[in-house]
Assembly symmetry: C2
Homo-oligomer: 364 residues x 2
Amino acid sequence: MTLLVDPTYLKDFTQAVFEKMGCPADEAETAADCLNRADLRGVDSHGVARLGGYIRLWEKKRLNASPTMKIVHETPSTAVLDGDLGLGLVTAPKAMKIAIEKARQAGTGWVAVKNSNHYGIAAFHSMMALEEDMIGISMTNASPLVAPTFSKSRFLGTNPISVTFPAKNEPPLVIDMATTTVANGKLEVLQRQGKDAPPGWAQDKNGHETTDAFVLKNGGAMLPLGGDRLHGGHKGYCLGAMVDIFTAVLSGANYGPWVPPFVAFLDPPENPVGDGIGHFLGAMRIDAFRPADEFKEHMDNWIQTFRKAENINPENKILIPGDPERELTIKRQKEGVPLSEPVIEDLKRIAEQFKLTFNPVQYA
Amino acid sequence: MTLLVDPTYLKDFTQAVFEKMGCPADEAETAADCLNRADLRGVDSHGVARLGGYIRLWEKKRLNASPTMKIVHETPSTAVLDGDLGLGLVTAPKAMKIAIEKARQAGTGWVAVKNSNHYGIAAFHSMMALEEDMIGISMTNASPLVAPTFSKSRFLGTNPISVTFPAKNEPPLVIDMATTTVANGKLEVLQRQGKDAPPGWAQDKNGHETTDAFVLKNGGAMLPLGGDRLHGGHKGYCLGAMVDIFTAVLSGANYGPWVPPFVAFLDPPENPVGDGIGHFLGAMRIDAFRPADEFKEHMDNWIQTFRKAENINPENKILIPGDPERELTIKRQKEGVPLSEPVIEDLKRIAEQFKLTFNPVQYA
């Protein structure tokens, strides 16, 4: 049974949990906001359902609830932030603020983060740039689940890229994509539904095509965007590699097979090559290139033009990156966030653990 | 019949042609170098075979052989370069030099170029950053041949992205990829061979899957990386859109369906929304983040680790982005660049037009 829950109730509960873990109030709020935004945007795998995962990392002392973050290196347009093993939900927004401040001064700002943890949805961070009339960029590396082309080794994460562009009267264009054929969450949905995965999403432990939705539990791997070599899978591998290098080799975090897994029951690899996981955040002032208003008018024209592209089937309108998530946000703000029975049970256990209450009711 | 031709002979001939068109000697040399590097790297569609295409644009006065390029806007880390309708083969290296100079001062440098033309292979420009211990970034928009997800309209180019990272003892990691399933040149190869295209590469004029290698001549479109929606084609569409916006909306060039086609027999669209086509070049000083030597040692480790990933078939070793092109460069420098009969005939016509000689002999 699925319950539609008031998003504000969820956010307040999440914030209370983070505070109980020892997060300062403002950081707990940012972290809760990040998970909440994932729930609103329909990225259910990165919302409140993931709260338990962060708690288990914290219990294993692999996550520091009250980190002392510091800039360890900088130039007018760059910085490296040491996240002190904090929540990525907190270190990434902090890094984005630094990037925005640098962009104000130097035109663009770029901050690589090391010694961090899972940062939620990539778009939460990149979208911070929009209200400043800046382009926002956000990337992170992640638990190794993806095989490079021709390999059966799980050496890369789903390594997402988010890029956001402000528009004038149109909503902003928001790209947020795993560099794999599909995000891991899509496989989890199929598992719950007892369905097979389409060919081209994953390979089994021997590197052969599979439709097994439980493929990751069975030693298989996800495929880079494009799938097999014939359909450009090596390009997805390039993109995943690029994200790994920007976020970790450049910052001093762990990369490739050394990235510490998000699931706390798996220990991090021995002999780490860096600190924690890595992120990379960027902000580019529009008017460092051309007047912001001029750019935004052309963005409106771009968006309106692409919306009017001729569609193949009447039922599928042409989408602009960010459309589905924005529409879902409006819907869920009105109707509530759907929580499944297992997620509700999990949150009740968390409430008990921290001596809090979690009694969600059907919204509206 | 294919002839293996001395790459230096080809480069000198190409430079002589550009000089006859009116390019200053140094710019003619840069342009010739760019086409030559494509031939060496195996991107035959972007090498000397394309020379005639540039000449036809020049004859139509859509290309200025002796442009007066100027910076029209700048900040410490950014600039916009007006290419004065010059060869992209010349405006992009000029922009990259500005980006590198800005990176020296501010940590990173970002130059958007408008009013330009086709810039050859993306990696030629990004690789300029490598010898400076910088990360290089290069993107361009291109003739609209690609349909957004769910659409039959050709609204995007193959819009390539190149990112290059220096290593220490290992060769640099060089990404250079069209944001489509395959580059247009792959379809041209199949056309010459009289073969069909694999499913997932293109759609016909009604938006249905096709294996017709002549699909573009028949009103069809190329597919964004990922192919159909189920396999992540909307992510390839996102990447193509991102490149279009960075290169053209940010610079003031034409975007989407307004991008002037490379083939001179097609007129540019009426009511342009900007000037020429657009590029975007970036340079990031490694030591703006961490000591360059430290980074490059970790790059060596990254590369060596991924090379040792377990392979699926013994005959397919795991590749690092840039491996195939580097190996082919060594081979072709030794054995020569293969030119087909039609390309040789075309170059002989060009020689005649400019009162030059083109008499290639088998290279040994």
